[in-house]
Symmetry: D2
Subunit: 144 residues, 4 copies
């Protein structure tokens, strides 16, 4: 789904018992996994997952994450991760995430991630890899 | 150790095999655990850990985290987490973290966390709980 | 589905990137989570999940697990957990699990878990709790 | 330490907040990590860790684990993992583990793991790799 040069994918995650802490709520660090689940769900839908990137000869390590926690999620509940691809001119992949409680649509957390491209040896790639340039072009995301 | 109204605790963490991903590096989400390890090491040193807070009748859920990843950590390596307590007038606990590779002292990641106080029922506490006010007072962290 | 006094539930789990180790395969310890996912999927279907048990005033901690690993699972793959409830006269909940690779139905791992009943204070319950006795009765699992 | 052709290593692990579940106890699946911590502590002491094995051109995936849970561990507590190398004629690495609560030496859990050798491509190695044969020889663990 394309809206104003943005793509959004929604994915559903059932909370695991082992993800809930002694306060009875999902431990905050697990939201970083939920973000990755969302990012990879987007990747499967739009051919931009880790495996797609790897097949093109690159890694895309996460270099930045942030998350604001607004409400609790408990065991037995399901979250919806809304992953929005944010277009940028730099050789980066940027996402913003919103996590909702499925039962009432309340916003539970929001945050973002930034990835760069490296060679399999870990060397930073400063310009968009050709496959990513093509990926953007096909989606009308390149500046004129 | 008190420096300019700041406290810093250093703690050492050996990377687990299960924390390393298929790129051979520590999966980025685990750094949030390392931050918590650092925060709790500070807490044990200065009586501000989760258990101390709980004994005083409060929870201190994390409401915000961020992390910038600068270098990789591999299996077999050890990280040093430097946790710096940042004094603030709000009813919050704020930390900045720096993670170093023990073998060469290189900065691997840095970030922060913010906690608020709630009752055990999850109700937000808007002013500093008395025990925290006292905790700050004893350390010369209250504004005149 | 009831077969010879046994119940079987099948549930599907997409492997997470963070669950894959540096050998490129799902880290073996994560299978214990998959078992729990299977057990809880069974629980949701048959009202014997942690939350059902808790609502009846009990905990059901796992006291025994075992797992045999037969094949690898890689990132991008999906597993099917087949959870089979094994009837026993003791005050226990016993499951056998089989994990299959969805893409080719190959058996990836198999194992089991045993749970006992405790009070919320952690005291072991030696006889079947009334709700569990009733649960078994309704399913024809009590010996004449 | 060698006792009757057995080697035992003891290692200490501080329980993480994120490892404790909503019952306030360490989630059972984390014990598999503690076993690996113990196995790797043994490996560092006796040159039989994952990295040693890898440097010799092999992987040693876990093909079997089991664990019996006897007591609870809570946040703030520390466990001692006692890892005992069990000599066997087969091309396997076998360990038995005992986990104790550091504060009172009570046995918390016990179990075991079995590893086989594979090539980096994942092919099973049926006989002891030369480096392992040598490793055993140096420790008087070879028959006849």
């Amino acid at each position: 789904m394309l809206k104003d040069n943005k793509f959004i994918t929604r994915t559903e995650i059932k909370v695991r018992f082992s993800e809930v802490d002694s306060m009875g709520i999902v431990w905050h660090g697990h939201y970083i996994k939920f973000f990755e689940d969302g990012r990879e769900a987007f990747g499967r839908e739009h051919n931009l997952g880790y495996l797609n990137i790897y097949e093109n000869g690159y890694f895309a390590p996460v270099v930045k994450v942030d998350c604001n926690f607004k409400r609790y999620i408990r065991y037995g509940e399901t979250v919806i991760v809304e992953s929005e691809y944010v277009n940028t001119q730099a050789a980066k992949i940027v996402f913003r995430f919103k996590i909702f409680n499925k039962k009432n649509d309340e916003l539970v957390a929001e945050g973002g991630s930034m990835q760069v491209f490296t060679t399999p040896d870990g060397e930073l790639v400063l310009n968009n890899p050709p496959f990513y340039e093509e990926w953007k072009k096909q989606r009308g995301l390149l500046e004129g």
